[in-house]
Amino acid sequence: KTAGYFLEYMNPDGPGRLALSLQSMPSPLTGKPGDATRGRDVLVDRQRGDCLSCHKISAVTTVADQGGIGPALDGIGGRYSEGQLRQILVDAKVYFPDAIMPSYYKSDSGEPSILNAAEVEDLIAYLKTLK
């Protein structure tokens, strides 16, 4: 990869912008690893993850209309550790107050969570398969 690619990747709107400041949440929310097959279901389910409204994943060929608001998630499992993916899903707004990426798991506030802990772990297991 060229230096130009690196700059593009790390620029404030580039796909790597989260990586710069991301911390890691190393422990699974459920105490055990999730299931990638169930994770894929959560991802495409319009009532649950509905991630493809905003992201593209070439490996998911069953959903025709994929969004372009967020970065494509192809290869995401190679770019981020499990712990970093957990932080992104739980609350990406910690790092970017203006993030569009929704916070999917709110454990301590009184607000309702979009997903439960097991669904977040299943999603992480699926995202890790995207290499």
Partner: protein, 275 residues
């Protein structure tokens, strides 16, 4: 006299000379200059520019536009006497294409001094029905109301949006502006995040537009019926998994006022056709 003529020519010039601007994807799009320098948008892009060209063409042609039947229903109702006073809308306003009424729809929501309130076009219709025809008021989303609004908005087709946010309307306008920027629903997204910061990008199968209200009421092809602007707001509320409000709620009137101001100078294109 000369000043007025100059102003009129200027109006026509900005109305007709739509510049082509280029978006991030490099496609040319028609764009209009906003009427007010304080408009947060640098240029106004009509919603049709984000549609498949076949749908935009369907909307522009009365014979193909599936909402046109409703316009005709409205046009017939305009001249049909109703209510206890034996009058029709036409008894007082003449033919609908007479100047005043032709462009009226482009000025709503509007402050009405007698009521000390900002009202929508649907409320105006109901006021005339009740007070001037002696007829019952129509529900916001009933077919006869959709027909009358579709007709009045169709009469205003091509007229630039001219809503007034000043004076007594200012308070409701500010409420609309604030709501537009408020994060909503489980996804915690504001109208501005989708329609101001991200227009041109894809949300699922839809291209996000700038979210202008000038094409409403509009025919939704996937539902095979005409929807009100406020129903479109409810759909956007549902997209962020938030709670919608009924047609005619104060919040929705405030949003409608803000959106129409934000569209000032865009020509009315109602009734729209949407996927």
């Amino acid at each position: 006299m000369r000043g007025n003529l100059g102003a009129a020519l200027f109006q026509i010039a900005i109305g007709i000379f739509a510049a082509a601007i280029f978006t991030a994807e490099g496609e040319p799009r028609r764009a209009f200059a906003p009427a007010d320098p304080s408009n947060p948008l640098k240029y106004l892009i009509p919603g049709e520019e984000f549609l498949p060209p076949s749908i935009a063409a369907q909307q522009a042609d009365d014979f193909d536009n599936p909402a046109y039947a409703l316009v005709e229903t409205g046009e017939r109702a305009w001249s049909a006497p109703e209510g206890t006073l034996g009058k029709s809308c036409r008894s007082c306003h003449g033919l609908g294409n007479r100047n005043g009424v032709r462009q009226a729809a482009a000025t709503y929501p509007k402050y009405v001094a007698g009521l000390k309130e900002v009202i929508t076009l649907t409320s105006r219709i109901n006021l005339c029905r009740k007070g001037n025809l002696g007829a019952d008021v129509l529900a916001e989303d009933s077919t006869p109301m959709l027909a009358m609004t579709a007709y009045l908005r169709w009469l205003a087709r091509g007229t630039p949006e001219t809503v007034d946010k000043t004076g007594p309307a200012a308070e409701l306008f500010e409420r609309g502006r604030t709501l537009y920027q408020t994060k909503q629903g489980l996804l915690q997204l504001s109208c501005a995040q989708c329609h101001h910061e991200r227009f041109g990008q894809k949300f699922g199968g839809d291209s996000l537009s700038q979210g202008h209200p000038v094409a409403y009421p509009a025919y939704k092809l996937d539902q095979q019926r005409v929807i009100t602007l406020h129903e479109r707001f409810r759909m956007c509320n549902a997209l962020v998994r938030g709670r919608g409000q009924p047609d005619g709620s104060d919040d929705y009137i405030a949003l409608e006022l803000f959106l129409n101001w934000r569209s000032r100078n865009l020509p009315i294109t109602a009734p729209g056709v949407r996927p």
